[in-house]
C-alpha cells in the first residue's frame, strides 16, 4: 500500500504533508507518484515538547494554504513533456572576489540540501567536462534511476557530483559502476547502513584505491577512495530527490554519508600473504577482472588480537533482521563482512586455514542465547515464530547462530600488523546481497592513468 498522501491525491483530493525528518516516507506522496514535493513540509526532529509542537502548527499555516491553493510544482522543478526537470540548469554567483563567490556557492548548495555539509569543489562547466574525459559514455546517457524519486542519473549528473566531491577523471569508471549497482536496488527510507564499495582488480592500484594501512581512513599514498565514495554519496543524495538533495531518514545516520566507504582488496601475487582466492573470484570473476561490488553495511567494528578469531565472533551484532523467514533466505544474503589484514590472512593460509574454515568458525561461534533469539527473531513469541526460527530453536538448543557460514564474507585489506588486524561489518537489511559488475574502461585509459 502506498502512502496516504499518494492514495488520496489519486482520488482527486489535494493533500499537504507535514513530516518530521525521520518520518518523511510515511507521508511522501511524491515518492510513489513521482511528482515533485511542493505539498510536503519537512521540519527537523525538534518536537521535544508541546510548546514546540504548537509553534510548528503556527509555522505550518502559510505552507498549508499554499499547498492546497497554489501550484503543486516547487520552484526547483519545471515540467517538460513527461519529465520534471531542474528549473535551473546553472547557477551563477556574483561576488567581489573569487573566494567570496566560492563561499556563496557552498552556502547556496547547503540551503538546497545539495551538500554533504563539507566544502564542495565548484562544478563548473570546465571541471565537469574534464571529468567526462574519464568515460566513453555520452553525457546524456541514463545509467539508472535513483530512488526514491527515481531521478535519472545521467553520466553528466555523475560528473557534476563527482566534480563537487573532488574526483579525478580516472575515478569515473568506478563511480559510474557503483551507482549503476546501487540504482538497481530497492530503496529503504529506514536504512541505517551505507553502501560499502569493494574494488577488485588492477584498477585499484592504477588509480590509488587504498587496500593498505588505514583502509577505512585517509591514506595519502592511495587517495582515490575518499573522492569516489563522496561522489557516490552526493549523487545518491542529489539524484534521488526532486530538485532538493535527499536526506535518507536514517535515525542514527552513518559516517559513510560523508566520504563513503570504499576499499580495494589486497590481492597481490605473493602466495605467502593472500587468501587462495580474491573476493571477486569467490563471486565468479577472474583474478585480473576489474570489479566493483556493493553491499550496505551498518558500521565498522575494529577488533584486536590477530591470532584470535574469538573476538571477531563475539563482536558480531545480533540484529533482528539477520534472521529471515526461511532457511534459504537466511543463507542467501551476506550478514557479516570480515576484513582482515593481509599479514594475518597469510598467517591463516600458511596454517592451512581457508576462508571457508573462517566462515564456519564465525557461524559456530557468533551466536545468541535462546532467550535473546526468541526476543529478536520471534518478537518474544516462540509459538508464533517463523519457520526458520522454529527450525533453529529445534536444531541448536541453547546457542543460536546469527548466520550460516555462507552468509559471511572474508576479504583481505588493511595495515601490516597483528595487533588490530580485523574490521567486522554487519550488513543492513537493505542491500544485503553482494552486487557486482565489471568496470568498463574508456579508450584513453592508459593515458588517463599515466597523467
Amino acid at each position: 500500500m502506498g502512502s496516504i498522501a499518494e492514495i488520496i491525491e489519486n482520488e482527486g483530493i489535494p493533500t499537504a504533508s507535514l513530516a518530521m525528518d525521520t518520518h518523511v516516507s510515511t507521508f511522501r506522496a511524491g515518492q510513489s507518484l513521482q511528482t515533485p514535493l511542493r505539498s510536503e513540509k519537512i521540519f527537523p526532529d525538534r518536537l521535544q515538547n508541546k510548546d514546540e509542537a504548537a509553534q510548528i502548527g503556527e509555522e505550518s499555516y502559510d505552507f498549508i494554504v499554499e499547498a492546497f491553493t497554489g501550484s503543486p510544482l516547487p520552484d526547483t522543478v519545471v515540467k517538460e513533456g513527461n519529465l520534471f526537470k531542474p528549473a535551473q540548469e546553472t547557477i551563477t554567483f556574483q561576488a567581489d572576489s573569487y573566494e567570496k563567490a566560492v563561499d556563496e556557492f557552498n552556502k547556496y548548495f547547503l540551503e538546497m540540501s545539495w551538500s554533504d555539509t563539507l566544502p564542495l569543489i565548484a562544478p563548473t562547466r570546465e571541471k565537469v567536462d574534464y571529468l567526462l574525459t574519464g568515460t566513453d559514455r555520452a553525457p546524456s546517457e541514463v545509467i539508472g534511476n535513483m530512488k526514491p524519486s527515481k531521478g535519472q542519473i545521467t553520466v553528466e549528473t555523475v560528473a557534476i557530483n563527482a566534480a563537487m566531491a573532488g574526483a579525478e577523471p580516472e575515478y569515473m569508471p568506478v563511480i559510474i559502476t557503483a551507482l549503476e549497482l546501487i540504482a538497481d536496488q530497492p530503496y529503504s527510507n529506514w536504512r541505517s547502513g551505507h553502501p560499502l564499495i569493494i574494488v577488485n582488480g588492477p584498477i585499484s592500484r592504477e588509480i590509488g584505491i587504498n587496500y593498505n594501512n588505514r583502509v577505512f581512513g585517509p591514506n595519502t599514498s592511495s587517495p582515490a577512495g575518499g573522492a569516489i565514495g563522496r561522489a557516490v554519496s552526493l549523487t545518491m543524495r542529489n539524484a534521488g530527490g526532486f530538485g532538493y538533495g535527499l536526506n535518507p531518514s536514517s535515525q542514527q545516520g552513518h559516517p559513510g554519508m560523508y566520504a563513503g566507504l570504499v576499499l580495494a582488496e589486497a590481492e597481490w601475487n605473493s602466495e605467502d600473504f593472500s587468501f587462495e582466492t580474491s573476493y571477486a573470484e569467490d563471486l565468479g570473476f577472474k583474478r585480473d577482472d576489474n570489479v566493483v561490488t556493493v553491499l550496505s553495511v551498518m558500521g565498522t567494528q575494529a577488533i584486536d588480537r590477530g591470532d584470535k578469531l574469538v573476538g571477531v565472533a563475539e563482536s558480531m551484532p545480533a540484529h533482528a533482521h539477520h534472521w529471515k523467514k526461511t532457511k534459504e533466505e537466511w543463507g542467501n544474503r551476506t550478514a557479516g563482512i570480515l576484513v582482515m589484514n593481509p599479514l594475518v590472512a597469510g598467517n591463516y593460509a600458511s596454517e592451512g586455514m581457508t576462508k571457508q574454515d573462517i566462515k564456519e568458525y564465525l557461524s559456530e561461534n557468533a551466536t545468541v542465547s535462546r532467550d535473546a533469539f526468541i526476543k529478536l527473531a520471534a518478537g518474544g513469541d516462540e509459538a508464533n515464530a517463523s519457520e526458520l526460527a522454529k527450525e533453529l530453536l529445534a536444531t541448536y538448543g541453547d546457542r543460536i547462530p546469527i548466520a550460516p557460514p555462507e552468509a559471511y564474507t572474508v576479504i583481505s585489506a588493511g595495515g601490516w600488523c597483528t595487533c588490530c588486524p580485523y574490521t567486522l561489518m554487519a550488513t543492513d537489511s537493505f542491500m544485503d546481497k553482494p552486487m557486482s559488475k565489471l568496470i568498463d574502461l574508456p579508450h584513453n585509459w592508459n593515458s588517463l592513468i599515466q597523467d
Binding site: E9, Q88, Q94
Partner: protein
C-alpha cells in the same frame, strides 16, 4: 617570447575565462537552459569589479508517472481533514500541531470546516479502513502527518 611568460599569460587567460573577472558578459547557452544568478556583490555593478562563478545543477530529471489532484481556489467553505499517524512525544505531538493549525485556519477562513484528527483512524501504517474513513468524511483537502 620567453617560454615562462607565454605559460604565465595562458594561465592568466584561463583564470579570467574561469571566473569571468572584470567582464561579466552573458555567455551563449543552449536553448531552454535556465539560469539563476545569486548576487552578493558589495560594490556597485558600474565598477565591473567583480567575479562570476557559474556552476551546474547537481540534481536529476524525473519521469512523471502520476499527477497531483487539482488544487483549490480558496479554503473558505471547504472541508479540510487532518489525518494523524500517532499521538504523543514519539510521534512529535502531532495532535498539538493540528490543534494550533486548526485554530489558525478557522481564524483566517471563518467558513472552513475542519475534520479533526480524532474523528479519523490514528494508525501508523495506512490500511484500507483508514482510506475508507478518510473518503467517507468527504474532505475537499487532507493534511497528513506528523510523526511515525
Amino acid at each position: 617570447m620567453n617560454k615562462k611568460i607565454i605559460i604565465g599569460l595562458l594561465l592568466i587567460i584561463s583564470l579570467f575565462a574561469l571566473v569571468g573577472c572584470n567582464s561579466p558578459q552573458e555567455t551563449s547557452k543552449p536553448e531552454g537552459e535556465q539560469e539563476t544568478v545569486i548576487d552578493s556583490k558589495e560594490t556597485p555593478d558600474a565598477n565591473n569589479d567583480y567575479v562570476e562563478l557559474t556552476v551546474l545543477n547537481p540534481t536529476s530529471a524525473v519521469e512523471a508517472v502520476g499527477e497531483y489532484a487539482p488544487r483549490l481556489d480558496n479554503l473558505n467553505g471547504k472541508r479540510v481533514a487532518m489525518w494523524l499517524s500517532g499521538e504523543g512525544i514519539d510521534t512529535g505531538y502531532g495532535e498539538i500541531v493540528y490543534e494550533r493549525l486548526a485554530e489558525k485556519l478557522k481564524a483566517e477562513y471563518p467558513d472552513v470546516v475542519i475534520i479533526p484528527y480524532n474523528e479519523l483512524p490514528i494508525t501508523y501504517s495506512p490500511k484500507d479502513e483508514t482510506v475508507e474513513a478518510i473518503l467517507a468524511a468527504e474532505p475537499d483537502a487532507l493534511i497528513v502527518g506528523v510523526g511515525g
